[in-house]
Symmetry: C2
Subunit: 329 residues, 2 copies
């Protein structure tokens, strides 16, 4: 009988709101053995998403049995019990015992964490935080979330809720956040809120034209309605010279920088890693974040802010790391 | 020969600015075997303080040799190297290798930490944080400092500078702090700054009389000069109905509460323990701190705020715990 080499295969899953990814990883390798992605239609619920993900996973595994399963979930998770608390975007996720469900499905140990913690772990094991003893990962996207690595291990907090830098207050006189407070980092620095503030600012100025390249496309663009403005557009218009967009983007960068400065004063991590769509806003945004963080931190506290290395794949790589730990691989 | 019981004796030292304490502790006992305290005169430098402390220690030990030495120091310390960085109050402490000095002096292992970290450790091992996996200790006194216990162990940060809640910003439009920023927790919540703000408020109102019990003592009190006002007096006058004192004390409690709320959102510890002179300001102050912290934390994040159990002895008990760990007792 010929000698047969057996690979240990780990299954990494990323429930990303409307985008779901399943990937197969062999520990030690730099890429995925298999990688499948699908989008959920509007109105899809937890049952639909789980069904979609299991189909993607079976396809990626093509009959192989994973040694362990790791999951990044886009919402609050009780890591110790392996239970999803809820999703802010998709109905039906209240108290879903996802770890148990996957362990039964695949006959292998599983671990489930929220996406910010998973991304922090991914960057620590495979990305911009390799070899560090401590880091804070912050994603600046449709929301602002964070995850810690302290003493080389994920720090999830007493209730699994650590990392909520998005809802730290940096300006008590600032605009109202959905959470009920004023001047949260997320209220000032996240994409949708920046878009909302740009629209409100336009109305105040009595203008409803579009800046930058889009100006002049007139009715066609305007006809798409206000809801179409995104954080990315605000960043683009700021780069193109739109004063209001510049002001909003700068204020967001300032708020994030103060939040980071406060966080490094409190916890003093070796590095802060920034990911998420808003970090693509350009050099002026990065400079403003770094400036505000440096000004807020005490002079003797080191402030090192670096871009994420794994981009949108950070949570999936974190899921792979969770699988490796769940399976002791 | 009669059987002779040998006790393991640990030496705990607290360099507290102008107040120095040496104590001898036998692990497992609830009190000190010996306890000696001395005050330094104004103008005393590091050499004077070290000499005083060694004399106190020898007296407390009465000829015995300690198995290990633990030290709480009132200023920034490089814990890993056992070196005092500096003192903000006493000259000559720049880069003093205190651990090595004590190891040579007593022929035993030593460990040196700053007072906030030591107090956090003391409360965790012997006080209001016993048995917890995580806590934040905050001292609110002439300054505002903090120390973490995470995963049952002190978390000192990458540069040994974690816990600086006093210099997190909670109101960027607030008054200027010595650190150069506006609206730091320490600028609003510490005793001396509250006293300073009360005096400034009095001047604005064109009054220079003293409120509460002191009103009417007139010249005698006024003659002591503005510098005599303390945070404790502001708290006392607030309790007595002085509107300005109440406003300043409430603002300080609000600032501390927001800082704590931000900290629990970021790190999600099991408990926050408050010590220091300002925590004696009364129930209204505690209620305002708790209210602001609860409002600032996300609804799902637990906020438990408790008074320190060890009072001014927290750093000394922390030093005893440091000695126990340094000596593996």
């Amino acid at each position: 009988m010929p000698w047969e080499r057996r690979y240990i295969m780990l299954l990494a899953l990323d429930f990303g709101g409307t985008k779901h990814t399943a990937a197969v990883w062999v520990p030690g390798e730099a890429g995925w053995r298999a990688h499948r992605r699908a989008f959920s239609p509007p109105g899809a619920d937890a049952g639909y998403d789980i069904g979609t993900m299991l189909a993607l996973a079976r396809e990626a595994l093509s009959g192989a049995r994973p040694a362990a399963v790791g999951v990044s979930f886009g919402g609050p998770v009780d890591f110790d019990r392996g239970v999803v608390r809820l999703s802010h975007h998709v109905s039906g996720w209240e108290d879903v015992p996802l770890q148990q469900l996957l362990e039964t499905e695949f006959g292998a140990p599983a671990a489930v964490d929220n996406d910010a913690n998973a991304a922090a772990l991914g960057e620590h094991r495979f990305g911009a935080g390799r070899g560090l003893d401590s880091l804070l990962y912050v994603t600046v996207s449709t929301g602002v979330g964070g995850g810690w690595i302290l003493a080389g291990r994920p720090w999830r907090g007493a209730g699994g809720l650590a990392g909520e830098i998005g809802h730290t207050v940096v300006d008590p006189a600032g605009p109202l956040c959905l959470c009920g407070k004023r001047g949260c980092v997320e209220r000032l620095a996240s994409g949708p809120y920046m878009a909302q503030d740009w629209l409100a600012g336009q109305e105040e100025e009595g203008e409803m034209s579009w800046p930058g390249q889009l100006r002049g496309q007139g009715a066609a663009t305007g006809g798409r309605g206000e809801r179409e403005v995104t954080g990315a557009m605000v960043a683009e218009w700021a780069a193109g010279g739109d004063a209001l967009a510049q002001k909003i983007l700068e204020r967001g960068a300032w708020a994030l920088g103060v939040g980071i400065g406060n966080a490094v004063n409190l916890v003093n991590p070796q590095r802060v890693i920034l990911g998420g769509g808003v970090t693509k806003a350009g050099e002026a945004w990065w400079a403003a974040v770094r400036h505000a963080a440096r000004e807020t931190a005490l002079p003797e506290v080191a402030v090192e802010i670096a871009p994420a290395a794994l981009g949108d794949d950070a949570p999936l790589w974190g899921a792979a790391a969770l699988a490796r730990e769940a399976g002791n691989q």
